[in-house]
């Protein structure tokens, strides 16, 4: 598996390098090479995930390294979707490095770190018990939905940053080299809102699945766990963002800053709570 993951990482790095060259030199050919490398990396990466799951007899949802890898994988999908529906230059410059870094993190994170000890806490048979018992099918659904919501929110974050960069240049009327290479304000705004909507849907369903799962296991829906609290805060923030967009016509700078703040909360939910303990030690 290491070999496959390493190959995928190499392909992603090639994709990053060529995307950078293509960006700086404005050569579409280089961009195509980057895309091919990305597709190759994605195929190998998918294969690695499948084989890994077969070998360890569980879905890749239990360890931190598995979650990193899965996040990177979901971001590639997000990238394919975004570039399929929008003419969005320069997006890859922001997204591809993160994909490569996530996969790299996944590879250096030691095996076993962050096993869901708390989630399996008190269950005879530990981790295996997660996959048996009543409602066990809900757990992978819970994780998958949340992974995709994180990926979507990351897209919101990137497009928000792109919006602010370009908006500032337009307002101050000083145009750097990046200006000619960024997509238009309305394009990034559109992608941002679509991604926020998708992410919010995934997050809502993911939280609901988590609650359902918890209630079938120990009868409690809410554990007052930091991760749960952050997740609800995140949910509320994106709720406000989306609601204000449709009701109050929010867009532009304010919406972009919200997208960035939302992502900070997502990071807290994802990583911060690891340090604070609780029911979800990791997830």
């Amino acid at each position: 598996m290491k070999v496959l993951l390493f190959t995928a990482l190499l392909a992603y790095i090639v994709a990053v390098v060529y995307a950078l060259f293509s960006f700086l030199r404005r050569q579409q050919k280089l961009g195509n090479i980057s895309l091919v490398a990305l597709i190759c990396g994605f195929v190998v990466h998918t294969l690695a995930l499948i084989l890994d799951a077969q070998q360890s007899k569980h879905l890749p949802f239990f360890q931190l390294r598995e979650i990193f890898s899965l996040l990177a994988w979901a971001l590639v999908i997000a990238y394919f979707l975004a570039s399929r529906y929008y003419r969005i230059q320069a997006f890859e410059i922001f997204l591809l490095p993160v994909i490569a870094i996530l996969l790299f993190l996944s590879m250096i994170t030691p095996e076993g770190d962050g096993i869901m000890s708390a989630a399996t806490h008190g269950l005879p048979g530990g981790r295996v018990a997660l996959l048996d018992g009543a409602g066990a099918w809900i757990f992978p659904v819970h994780i998958t939905l949340l992974i995709f919501s994180y990926a979507s929110f990351f897209v919101v974050f990137i497009t928000s940053v792109m919006y602010l960069l370009q908006e500032r240049e337009l307002k101050t009327k000083t145009f750097g080299t990046i200006f000619h290479r960024l997509p238009s304000l309305t394009t990034v705004d559109d992608i941002s809102m679509t991604a926020a909507g998708l992410g919010f849907t995934f997050l809502t369903l993911g939280i609901a699945a988590g609650m359902l799962w918890a209630s079938t296991r120990d009868g409690r829906v809410w554990h007052n766990d930091p991760k749960e609290i952050f997740a609800i805060l995140t949910w509320a923030l994106y709720m406000i963002l989306i609601h204000s967009r449709y009701v109050g016509g929010w867009r532009g700078r304010k919406a972009a800053w919200f997208g960035i703040a939302g992502f900070a909360l997502v990071l807290c939910t994802f990583l911060g709570t690891r340090l604070m303990g609780g029911y979800h030690v990791f997830g």
């Binding site: 404005r26 238009s184 309305t186 016509g249 700078r253």
Partner: protein
């Protein structure tokens, strides 16, 4: 063979001189036949635009007959002279004008010049693409007149490729360098494309018309025109199938507009579009961005509007500074383009060498001659003493044998080469490669 370019452009010659030497299409068609006499000049092409008049010619295709296979300086000089004469006789102009205002480039320099012109590096506004179209046109005229041969075909097609590379690989043409085009480009930075967007023109003057033209070309859907004199608005509306609105209803229509262009007169500080109006319009259109372009002096749009989120204001100075920075950017990109041109010139020169059969023919003849000479040297001793006359006779006999053997080979070689049959050409050359020669030599020697 040589490639020669003689011409005038906006840098070397004033408009009075350029128009004196300009060619209309019909004129060029007829003149090309005069230019290409197939003695001094074998191929020709005339580019005539408002910024340049140039004659591009290829000559000396048959230089290889001279044996050396390389072009002669006299041939080139004669060619240049011929083109100069052609210029002055075509336009009954004083040859002194040519001397004072024209430039002459030969071979590598001519190739570089053609590549630079095609890539718009030699244009008045660097990076503007029109010149490529003009060059295409000039080439099609030459093709129609039958004066573009294998050298010019290659050169011009290579130039088109270079232009494409420069366009794709540098940002030389990516930024706008006119006020109205800059406005369109900025609009695209906000709205992605202008398709389906509504433009409001405040003022129906010349500037408004020019801007409207650009915006309609860029795909703007609806054009609203407000003017203090309604009839002028109506007239402009008819021209662009827009809609004239009463000046007093401006406030109401502002919410419909994605782009607002102001070019009407105003007294200083008394803005036609106030911050309050803009704010109202923005909330009425649920914060969808509005792009204000204010090309009037004194300004018509309150600059404070630019402080509001989702509203963007550019006045004439802002646009001009964007233009200036774009021109700087183009110049910067032009340096990278020059590197591409240099690399392509080297590549073309190399390709041209394979195009030139002269040296090959020369080498072939040399090879046969060296065989003959070597054989003669080997048998010379056995012949015993010879009188100088006898020796001379033998030498001239060997020389004539060489020529008789070489001639059919060379003429076949040339035939297959000229018909573009590279395979046969190559076969002939292989037949007389060094190895083969040595083999033959060894056999005859034994």
């Amino acid at each position: 063979m040589s490639i020669i370019l003689v011409g005038f452009n906006h840098k070397t010659a004033p408009i009075e001189v350029r128009e004196r030497f300009a060619f209309t299409d019909e004129r060029a068609r007829a003149s090309l036949q005069t230019l290409v006499d197939n003695e001094k000049i074998n191929e020709g092409l005339i580019i005539s635009t408002c910024n340049r008049v140039e004659v591009l010619a290829a000559l000396g295709h048959d230089d290889e007959r001279l044996g050396s296979g390389t072009k002669t300086e006299e041939g080139t000089a004669e060619g240049v002279h011929h083109i100069n004469r052609f210029f002055s006789s075509q336009h009954q102009a004083d040859p002194a004008l040519l001397r004072d205002y024209s430039y002459t480039h030969v071979d590598e320099k001519a190739v570089r010049h053609v590549f630079r012109v095609a890539s718009s590096l030699d244009s008045m506004v660097v990076g503007e693409p029109q010149v490529l179209g003009q060059m295409r046109h000039a080439y099609s005229l030459a093709v129609a007149a039958g004066t573009a041969g294998r050298v010019l075909h290659r050169l011009v097609h290579h130039a088109f490729r270079v232009a494409k590379r420069v366009r794709n690989e540098t940002g030389i043409a990516s930024s706008a360098v006119s006020i109205s085009y800059t406005a369109v480009e900025l609009g695209k930075k906000i709205f992605d494309s202008l398709e389906g967007h509504t433009i409001l023109l405040v003022g129906a003057g010349e500037m408004a018309e020019l801007a409207a033209k650009h915006l309609v070309n860029a795909g703007a859907k609806k054009i609203l025109i407000a003017n203090r004199t309604y009839s002028a608005a109506q007239a402009l509306a008819d021209k662009f199938s827009g809609e004239a609105i009463e000046f007093s209803t401006l406030n109401h229509y502002l919410r419909e507009a994605d782009i607002v262009i102001c070019s009407t007169g105003a007294t200083e500080g008394n803005y036609v579009i106030t911050k309050q109006m803009a704010q109202q319009a923005l909330s009425a259109r649920r914060n969808r961005q509005i792009f204000f372009i204010d090309i009037s002096v004194p300004r018509n749009v309150d600059p404070a509007i630019g402080d509001i989120d989702n509203l963007f204001v550019f006045d004439i100075d802002d646009l001009e500074s964007v233009v200036a920075s774009n021109i700087r950017e183009r110049k910067h990109e032009a340096q990278r383009a020059e590197l591409i041109v240099e690399a392509e010139v080297a590549q073309f020169q190399q390709a041209l060498n394979t195009l030139n059969i002269g040296p090959t023919v020369g080498a072939l003849r040399q090879r046969i001659q060296s065989i003959v000479e070597a054989e003669f040297a080997r048998y010379r001793r056995r012949l015993g003493p010879l009188t100088p006359e006898q020796e001379k006779i033998i030498e001239s006999m060997l020389d004539s044998i060489t020529k008789k053997v070489a001639h059919p080979v060379i003429s076949r070689l040339r035939e297959s080469y000229q018909s573009g049959d590279t395979q046969t050409t190559q076969a002939w050359l292989n037949l007389f490669s060094v190895e083969e020669m040595e083999e033959i030599l060894r056999k005859t020697g034994s």
